[in-house]
């Protein structure tokens, strides 16, 4: 009787992904140094190990709700390694991988997902914007950052990350339009993981791709295999060169997949079949690149063992720093609201501290 088209949609989806986008490597790329190829592989492992450990921490109640990125490493590594230090990363909640690669300490990311304001800190000189939680709202910021760079004649571009679901929000379209009208040095990078929580890509748009939307704004649109860090790197690298030389914005869509739940509170079995996920995992982007590096003669078992140990160690150290951070200071919630706190706020703070029996507190009335 009731067969929702949701089910039919799911079947369709299954058919579509029984041929997951394959990473198609041939000969070793001539345009990319061996060290960079190896770095891509290493950074992908760094993010994966970080991610898996973070999920375990959440499951053990040692951090709060967490949005895993596993599966999307090729996108975040390929895109971020193509940036220069002066370029800006403008992330969503799932782009902490890019944040880490661009200079944000891992423990800050862990502190953030553990509900601590210290986790919001971006070190001076690191050009990363704070995580944007409301969908697509960061995209106009990226346009503005790029606009400032243009007005100030800085050699700097901004890269705004977003998801497939975000392409439905007005902010995405407004940002693209500003980027086009003012020819801004901005790159919009969509990780199309084909779901917005439970909602499949074809419920977001009647177009076949995100990339084609660029045309409506007079912006170049590019679609790449988000399963292939090298392809992603090349596309972003070209877009950075173009933007930095006054060529304007680019929209890049990378087709990808998230292995895990939307967040640790989500149950993906409610909306996507396990076979679909398995089909993607069977062509894992990290494993594929590893095989390729070996075929090119620049990777081996000894390097792999050393890498795994080094990365596990690095992640463990970061977890240690997160867990040995002093307990949160309740007073922190009153800080950084204004450059000059209002007298009323100062009074609330004093009363609050007094109620906790802490120094600096004063009872009023």
């Amino acid at each position: 009787m009731f067969k929702s088209s949701a089910e039919a949609e799911r079947e369709l989806q299954g058919a579509a992904v029984s041929h997951p986008a394959l990473a198609e490597f041939g000969d070793k790329p001539a345009d990319i140094e061996d060290t960079l190829l190896i770095r891509m592989y290493e950074e992908m492992w760094k993010l994966r190990l970080f991610d898996r450990r973070a999920v375990s921490l959440q499951r053990a109640g040692r951090i709060g709700t967490y949005p895993p990125l596993e599966g999307q490493e090729a996108c975040q590594v390929g895109a971020t390694l193509a940036l220069r230090p002066q370029d800006f990363v403008v992330p969503t909640y799932r782009d902490y991988g890019a944040m880490i690669l661009h200079g944000v300490p891992m423990e800050n990311i862990l502190l953030y997902w553990n509900g601590r304001a210290e986790g919001c800190v971006i070190p001076d000189g690191v050009n990363v914007f704070p995580i944007a939680v409301p969908i697509a709202t960061q995209l106009p910021h990226a346009a503005g950052i790029a606009w400032a760079a243009k007005l100030r004649k800085l050699d700097q571009v901004a890269l705004g990350f977003f998801g497939d679901g975000a392409s439905s929000e007005g902010d995405f379209h407004e940002a693209m339009n500003f980027a086009g009208v003012f020819q801004l040095p901005v790159i919009y990078f969509c990780q199309n993981n084909q779901y917005a929580i439970s909602v499949p890509f074809h419920r977001q748009t009647a177009t076949a791709t995100i990339a084609e939307k660029a045309a409506a704004y007079g912006v170049e649109g590019v679609r790449v295999n988000g399963w292939d860090a090298i392809q992603v790197y090349r596309a972003v690298h070209a877009a950075v060169e173009k933007a930095a030389s006054g060529g304007g914005p680019t929209l890049i869509e990378a087709l990808t997949y998230r292995y895990g739940p939307h967040t640790t509170s989500d149950d993906p079995t409610k909306y996507r079949p396990a076979e679909e996920t398995d089909a993607w995992k069977a062509r894992d982007p990290i494993a594929t690149l590893g095989e390729q590096l070996r075929a090119w003669g620049i990777w081996n078992d000894a390097l792999e063992t050393e890498l795994q140990e080094r990365m596990q160690h690095m992640v463990s150290e970061a977890i240690g720093r997160m867990e040995s951070a002093p307990p949160p200071n309740p007073e922190d919630m009153f800080l950084h609201i204004y450059a000059e706190p209002s007298p009323r706020l100062l009074r609330q703070r004093e009363e609050f501290l007094a109620s906790l029996g802490r120094p600096g507190g004063r009872q009023h009335e």
Partner: protein, 326 residues
Amino acid sequence: MSSKTLVQAINDGLRCAMARDPRVILLGEDVGVNGGVFRVTEGLLEQFGEERVIDTPLAESGILGTSVGLAANGMRPIPEIQFMGFIYPGFEQLVSHVARLRMRSRGRFTLPMVVRVPFGGRIRAPEIHSDSTETYFAHTPGLTVVVPSNPYDAKGLLLASVESEDPVIFLEPMRIYRAFREEVPDEYYTVPLRKATVVKEGTDVTVISWGTMVRETWTVIQRLEQERGVSVELIDLRTLSPWDEDTVMTSVNKTGRAVVVHEAVAHLGLGAEISARIHEECILQLEAPVARVASFDVPPPLFQLEDLHAPTPQRISAGIEKVFAF
């Protein structure tokens, strides 16, 4: 009758509304296949089909803007906004259109729509998932703002909201979605809008609250009454706008003292309006200025400090003591 959580009572209310009136449809992000991120719409897609339970594109302005057209043209949409912190892309639709279409069309177009919005803090959610900004909506003439504090009221208020010819912002306190169960009738019933309820009668002070804070305040009151020998009247406002001034003033005229407790920040929280009205109406009966217990005037902090941001039992207690100490 069956024992239900707040989530189950709202789910049951939606089911009753849809079974009774074919014009009622649900739309929003993840409300269909997934049954809602809080499972409030669980099972409804299966029961009513995809024309009536609709997973929309991720766009709050689109969800609320199309709801305006749907409602004006004969449907009774119940859009869901996933969290209060994500309603703002649709704010324009709410304040410029949803709230005003009746007025702007001089009664020709009305908007029988219910915007369901999970809200409030202290569920250890990530950033921006814990807003209590009911003032934004209550501040907007033309909107009716409703907040249940228990499963029975939740179902009845929801059904009354669906019956209403005017748009209702139906705020669902996430912290008590599954905190306790209550007997809820299986059949259709309504709980009137614009009517506060006296949760507990008392003679010495009136405490006014809504949503999550009602139960927490009630616990504090139990203890205070025993320890201090005072008698407290507790009012659950239920509809925040337009609110039930009669019930509140009658109570304050009797007790001579009033305290408002809410999770929204103090500055221009609804406590400000309630306090102002009590001073205007009951000044000669008042033994003390009206006290407010609210969150501090800072954005909801990340979750490790959020319990200290909202009114704690200690602060609620101190607020009530204050009107006796005056």
